[in-house]
Amino acid sequence: MSSQPAVEFRKVWKTFHRHTGQLLLRSHFKRLLTWKDHVERFHALRDVSFRVEHGESLAVMGKNGAGKSTLLSLVAGLVPPDRGDVLIQGRVAALLELGSGFHPDLTGMENIHLNAALLGFSRKQTAARLEEIVDFAEISDFIREPLRTYSTGMMMRLAFSVAVNLDPDILLIDEVLAVGDAGFQAKCFDRIRDFRRRGKTILCVSHATGMTQRFCGRALWLDHGDLMLDGAIDEVACAYEGYLNAGS
């Protein structure tokens, strides 16, 4: 198992349709009658190949719409590639957006259970980690209150705490660490470093360079679905920033 990489993309293509009003019966009929496939397509990823070894941390850089989120969706197994192969080894936990599986009307505790179940944990496994999750999130008094009473910072702490403490093999982070106070951010970075020490894999997405440089050794730069550069973080960050400055 260890000889295989944690994540491997082999010539991956992903196209999305832009469907405006495509979802009603009317438009389906129209398409049948006019016999024209006027679906607009755009390439979210074009012939992208890379490998991430176990224990490596990789940053993915690029502007909005460069294909970063699509890349994470493919790693998380949310969507299959159109062409090419995506090979994953291990359990993936995604911090794709603040509290992806959270519901505002459920209490913090109920959301922890729901998220653990969504990630594939049993009742026993969840119970064993419950205390650690609540402690780490530092919201002890609020844990029995509905989530909509939480501040953004509290919600983010809970989301991070759930994802990290459920002990995934591969952690996906999508710009979430930008939120939260300095003290908690430091704690998160500690946890991420600890995570790396235990040989876990991290994929981290950002449109800025500063934050990711703190814990990623390697980086990819995506632009309009193309893989522009794959290399050491400083080198890629430098090239990406140069490109940004030249563009503006």
């Binding site: 469907h19 979802l23 949310l78 599986g101 179940a117 594939g120 944990f121």
Partner: protein, 254 residues
């Protein structure tokens, strides 16, 4: 496509509880609201069909209730199952949760809620005709209806992702079905040449079986059960096959 391995049953339980808690957290009367609808319907239908169009069916209120409750279970589960994927679009787009679990949880969650109506029906039956050992047959027929509606929920939830009009088709079908299932009338009133069609409709079969058990206190006919079992299992397997076929592109359409 999804390399999700885990405790499937715990997941479904959590999804069911999520819907249940969200729906009832802000209501003071909670589940009792779902008892009001069948009671009002029973009252209205009883008035119309005993005072306006009189008939000689004994215990007509209970007779109608034997039709209303399985019909409600069917329509509510089917409709909520159909819209479940759209309503959980955020979850599907961000969490690699097994997709089947969502319509299945929607059906089971609504069954849990509709248990109140089933208990109301049993309570009425116990008061009118008394408890009888033929009630054991209830344990055989309810799972068949749930299986049948789960199959439909899987199929139609998948269609609804691609064409959003599907939910209105389901709503209209339910209105038509109210009159095509022997709810207000007796199966024996149906002209002989149409009767054979009814046997293949598991909802109609359910109504007839419930009347056998609760009103006549006899076991439902074996042929009725076999036909209902065949169509329930067939629809469930078909629903699952359709769902799996359409599943890979849900993400793009949600």
């Amino acid at each position: 496509m999804l390399n999700w391995t885990g405790d499937y049953w715990y997941l479904v339980q959590n999804l069911v509880m999520k819907d249940f808690k969200i729906r009832y957290r802000n209501m003071s009367l909670g589940v009792f609201w779902s008892l009001l609808n069948p009671l009002v319907m029973m009252g209205v239908l009883w008035f119309v069909f005993t005072h306006i169009f009189p008939n000689r069916i004994p215990h007509y209120a209970l007779f109608v209730m034997c039709g209303l409750v399985p019909f409600n279970v069917f329509t509510i589960c089917w409709l909520n199952g159909t819209t479940s994927l759209i309503e959980n679009a955020q979850l599907i787009k961000r969490v690699p949760v097994p997709r089947e679990a969502i319509p299945v949880a929607a059906v089971l969650g609504n069954c849990l809620q509709l248990l109140a109506q089933v208990l109301l029906l049993l309570f009425l039956a116990a008061a009118v005709t008394g408890i009888h050992r033929s009630w054991f047959w209830l344990l055989a027929i309810w799972p068949l209806e749930v299986l049948f509606v789960t199959g439909l929920a899987l199929m139609f939830s998948a269609f609804n992702v691609y064409v959003r009009d599907v939910r209105y088709v389901v709503e209209s079908a339910n209105v038509v079905l109210f009159w095509l299932v022997p709810i207000v009338y007796d199966f024996r009133w149906i002209p002989a040449q149409y009767r054979f069609i009814y046997g293949y409709n598991p909802v109609a079969a359910m109504v007839m079986a419930l009347r056998n058990i609760l009103l006549d206190q006899t076991a439902p006919a074996a042929t009725l059960l076999v036909k209902a079992a065949i169509s329930s299992v067939a629809i469930f397997l078909l629903g699952l096959a359709v769902f799996r076929r359409l599943r890979p592109r849900f993400f793009n359409y949600l």
